[in-house]
């Protein structure tokens, strides 16, 4: 037994000595290639994942046994012409680089259907569509009358009248509509026939949204209003140079929260106030715990200039964005000013620390994750890259499929832009929407919502195949 044990032991030791380095080297991409010059070569990997899955992979014109999601390994460094075939979908193709020891990953390929699936959700000749950013609610309207507004909840497929027929304010004309990111509440500015302007507060998460008339809390016409979803019914209005706090639940007005301000923003239970000289401070809702974030007036002046108001948008724990009246986009990161003018809208990709911004004619990505500071000769600030240029009138833009794509509307046409790590983005036209109306995309359902150009119906179009499918509630 002892001899047997020793023999087996030494055989296993030998196995380990031989196999361990080989397996570890293989894990790093090294393979034995007797016919090549170096005999042992370091290879790379191509990884594909598509929606829907099951596309056949062609490499340099030759079909492989793999279907997506799949990994092609043991590839020598170089460029590979890749084509992905799936029935009923357009062919996806690209030339991809493979580097030694590295993985070229395309984990979020959206195959474009030859015929996109659409579904009519609410019939009616709607004239406009707006959405509550960061929520699943969108509003469609047949006319400017408040009673003609309908609310649609994308995940539950529920529809309600914004203000039911027969209820007060239904005949009022909607002048403006204020929303806040991730909040299901809406502030409506309406005017009843022949009467003074009113301010109405509605919570769309309620089954029949209750309407609160909070006109008394508005001594002046606000230039803009801001609040946060977790703010407990506190909203902040900016009028003239002052900021007021309104407690909706208590129906209380706290005027002069900030007497002299050029900007306001709310996030994480803090109110951010930009002073006329450009200094920035934060405080809680009770104005306690004031924290001076920027005190250097000279620096503040060079960033914010001497005039102009800014909306303050705390993006993450460390990054604060500022959008100016002329469409400036600033941040508390070098070089501070990223867009001089013309920014129409922004969308966030918090996990990847990126901001999608669009102007009338172009779309860009501001990437805060590329920032390099500290022990380097030249510090590197966040990068702004324009991914689409030459547009006519870009309206809305959305991150799609875990921010691997951008869906946007230019005039009446909607496009899907695939953000490629390798080479220029690829763009596909999705469809045409009703003239001068907005669109909405829900990552939860994988559907785009729009008004059909011929009927005006609220319609959905499948963007991520197979993701939608929640049953409609009766």
């Amino acid at each position: 037994m002892l001899i047997l044990r020793r023999i087996v032991f030494y055989v296993f030791v030998l196995c380990y000595i031989v196999f361990c380095p080989l397996v570890v080297l293989y894990a790093f991409g090294y393979i034995f290639k007797p016919q090549s010059e170096d005999i042992v070569v370091k290879t790379g990997i191509l990884y594909f994942s598509t929606a829907p899955a099951g596309a056949v992979i062609y490499v340099n014109g030759e079909v492989t046994k793999n279907k997506t999601p799949a990994m092609l390994d043991k590839l020598l460094p170089g460029k590979y012409a890749i084509k992905l075939f799936l029935e009923d979908y357009e062919v996806w193709s690209d030339t991809l680089p493979v580097k030694a020891g590295e993985a070229t990953t395309l984990g979020k390929i959206l195959l474009v259907p030859k015929k996109r699936k659409t579904e009519s959700l609410i019939t009616g000749d709607f004239r406009d569509l707006t959405y509550l950013a960061g929520t699943q609610f969108l509003l469609v309207s047949r006319s400017a009358s408040a009673g003609d507004y309908a609310v649609y909840e994308c995940t539950g497929k529920n529809q309600e009248a914004l203000i039911g027929a027969g209820r007060g304010f239904a005949d009022c004309g909607v002048i403006s509509l204020f929303t806040a990111r991730e909040s299901s509440c809406v502030l409506l500015s309406v005017r009843p026939k022949g009467a003074k302007k009113l301010f109405l507060w509605l919570d769309l998460s309620e089954k029949e949204p209750s309407v609160s008339n909070i006109t008394d809390l508005f001594p002046e016409e606000p230039r803009w209003v801001t609040w946060e979803a977790s703010g407990g019914g506190n909203i902040f209005t900016f009028q003239g140079n002052s900021v007021n706090r309104l407690d909706i639940k208590a129906k209380a007005l706290y005027p002069g929260f900030a007497q002299d301000a050029r900007g306001v923003g709310v996030a994480g239970g803090l109110v951010y106030i930009l002073a006329p000289e450009g200094t920035l401070s934060s405080m809680n809702y009770e104005k306690n715990g004031v924290n001076k974030l920027l005190e250097d007036e000279k620096l503040a002046g060079s960033i914010f200039g001497s005039s102009g108001d800014f909306r303050i948008i705390p993006f993450s724990k460390d990054v604060i964005l500022f959008t100016g009246e002329s469409g400036e986009l600033l941040a508390n990161r070098l070089p501070y000013k990223f867009v001089e003018k013309g920014t129409v809208g922004i969308e966030f990709d918090l996990p990847r620390e990126r901001v999608l911004l669009w102007q009338k004619d172009k779309i860009g990505i501001l990437d805060f994750s590329t920032e390099v500071t500290g022990a380097v000769v030249f510090e590197q600030g966040p990068r702004l890259e324009w991914i689409f240029e030459g547009g006519k009138n870009v309206g809305e833009a959305f991150w799609v499929y875990e921010a691997s794509h951008v869906l946007f509307r230019d005039e009446n046409d909607v496009y899907l832009l695939e953000l490629r790590q390798y080479g220029r983005p690829r763009m596909d036209r999705v469809l045409t929407v009703k003239g001068k109306t907005g669109i909405f995309y829900s990552e939860k359902t994988g559907l785009m919502y729009y008004l059909d150009p011929s009927s005006g119906n609220l319609t959905s179009a499948e963007i991520i195949p197979g993701k939608a499918g929640a049953p409609a509630k009766k």
Binding site: C15, F19, I45, G101, A103
Partner: protein, 545 residues
């Protein structure tokens, strides 16, 4: 070599060395776990490569152990029907017996033929070396059963199994070594057992071990040592040579195989260095196996497997749990350590050092069955299992003492010393760390590797390689499941097939069990030793349905 096999009674540099060596196992285990954790977060590429190298090592070791588990299992199966008493009688006249074995019927089953072959080979070695075995008639057994809390319902089945064995009980002296601090019903129970079984044995003594004797800790070894000294006087007065006495120190719940003492006698008689040997049976935990939760069943079956594998490696075998040894050796080395919890393994190391490495453990392919620790509730059973495994892992207390002894010893070869220390050290470190590496740390590099790592080939290849290794290792798990079912005692019960299937499925709990009821108790024991804390001897509660 004369050596104080204790951490007490040492001074100066030796004390400092002992303390330093106490820190080493715990520090190493923590360094491995924390180091790999930090490495997985800070340098995921290096961590992933190390994990692959470790998994290959783990798989090969698993495969290696599985091979010997299978071999050992078959060896145990072969000897299942062996008439050890007949063999022991045969050893009295080895040449005749060898001839008889040679001329045995060719129609005998293969297992019997193989068993006869092993027996013949053993006798041939004995006769070749000119070693004369002692006559069977001169051999006596001493059985010491330390009792602290155990009542007769726990102790009596073991006594009965000894009395009912094939070896004549009138050649067996049994001592119930009762702690004086034990409850009245425990003491009364011992007295009742004495009254009931005394007539069947050479004698059955009840010895009260006084509490708090100078130099003693509250450990089993102290109680057993006092009982052994009583037995020494007993044999001396009856002019029985210690050379012909085999002592077995059993846990109070130990139920021996009917053939145990016959097999032990045969093993003793055929062992050339019988007075410098211990004899290790295969411990199994079948007394209450169907009355305990599944995790406890799987855990203890794993312990039996470990001992089955160890049985194939007598060169490095260390005594564990209930075992036997030469009484002369025990007396020569000064009995069991009286201040150590791990008396079962400590007595081997004490003897090995005392005899300058000329001491060995002889594996025996017979079983002793014990209870699985159990309590009234599921949670309490987990706690008791945890405490028992921590007590077993406290065997790490041998490490500093053994290393200290080896540094002093000049007669044992450096290679042997290195090999044994390495095995002792590696055994305890792997006990405490492997489960963490296999169940937790292996997943960290892909989860927390960061973008740079995610762009590497390693990010994609490492999980694939890990998965292949885990899949290959599952063959070992399947083997264990099959063998565990084969080993189970045949017992009358409801739905036996279904219960065996459930038992097989329970093996899937192994990743959780090895982490929480094996690795963490071991790490706990090592950490206590590292921090200079003591572990009180904890008497595992036993319960019978």
């Amino acid at each position: 070599m004369k050596f104080n096999f204790s951490k007490y009674g040492i001074k100066g540099g030796e004390k400092a060395l002992e303390r330093f060596l106490e820190i080493i196992p715990g520090l190493t285990s923590w360094t491995v776990i924390v180091g790999m954790f930090i490495l997985a977060l800070a340098k995921p590429v290096i961590a992933a490569a190390i994990i692959i190298a470790f998994l290959i090592y783990w798989f090969l070791k698993l495969a290696y152990l599985t091979i010997f588990l299978i071999i050992s299992y078959f060896r145990l199966s072969i000897e299942k029907d062996t008439n050890w008493m007949k063999r022991a009688r045969g050893v009295n006249a080895p040449e005749v017996f060898i001839k008889a074995l040679r001329s045995a019927s060719s129609e005998a089953p293969f297992a019997k033929k193989l068993s006869d072959y092993f027996c013949r080979k053993r006798l041939e070695v004995l006769t070749k070396n000119g070693v004369k075995p002692p006559p069977l008639e001169d051999i006596y057994h001493l059985v010491i059963i330390p009792i602290a809390k155990e009542t007769p319902d726990i102790v009596e089945p073991g006594i009965k199994s000894i009395a009912d064995g094939t070896f004549p009980p009138e050649k067996i002296l049994v001592i119930l070594a009762v702690e004086e601090r034990a409850q009245v019903d425990v003491k009364k129970g011992a007295a009742d057992i004495r009254a009931k079984y005394r007539g069947r044995f050479l004698d059955l003594l009840v010895n009260m071990h006084k509490d708090g004797l100078r130099g003693e800790a509250r450990v089993k070894g102290a109680n057993a040592s006092v009982a052994a000294k009583v037995a020494a006087e007993y044999f001396k007065t009856r002019s029985v040579s210690f050379e012909n006495v085999i002592v077995s120190c059993f846990d109070s719940d130990t139920v021996v195989n009917p053939q145990y003492f016959a097999c032990l006698t045969y093993s003793f008689m055929t062992c050339p260095d019988r007075t410098r040997s211990s004899f290790q049976p295969i411990p199994v935990y079948y007394n209450n196996i169907w009355d305990v939760p599944g995790f406890a069943r799987v855990l203890e079956t794993g312990s039996s497997f470990f001992q089955l594998i160890e049985a194939t490696n007598p060169e490095q075998l260390v005594t564990f749990s209930s075992h036997s040894m030469s009484f002369k050796a025990l007396v020569d080395v000064g009995y069991w350590p009286v201040d150590m919890i791990s008396d079962d393994s400590a007595i081997f190391w004490k003897s090995y050092i005392h005899f300058d490495g000329k001491y060995r453990v002889v594996p025996m392919y017979t079983t002793v069955s014990m209870d699985i620790v159990v309590a009234n509730t599921w949670w309490k059973t987990i706690v008791n299992e945890y405490k028992q495994k921590r007590r077993w892992a406290w065997g790490v207390e041998n490490f500093p003492i053994v290393v200290r002894a080896f540094l002093k010893d000049k007669k044992i070869s450096l290679f042997t010393k290195m090999r044994l220390v390495l095995k002792l050290f590696e055994g305890h470190i792997s006990w405490a760390t492997w489960a963490f590496l296999l169940t937790v740390i292996v997943w960290l590099p892909p989860l927390f590797g960061g973008r740079h790592f995610q762009k590497s080939v390693l990010y994609y290849s490492a999980p694939r390689i890990d998965a292949i290794i885990f899949n290959l290792a599952s063959f070992s798990l399947i083997t264990s499941i099959i063998l565990s079912i084969c080993l189970l005692p045949k017992q009358k019960m409801k739905h036996p097939f279904l219960r065996r299937i459930v038992f097989a499925v329970q093996w899937l709990l192994i990743p959780v069990i090895i982490l929480f009821l094996s690795a963490i108790p071991a790490l706990d024991a090592q950490t206590r030793l590292m921090l200079g804390k003591r572990l009180e001897f904890w008497v595992a509660p036993k319960k019978k349905e």
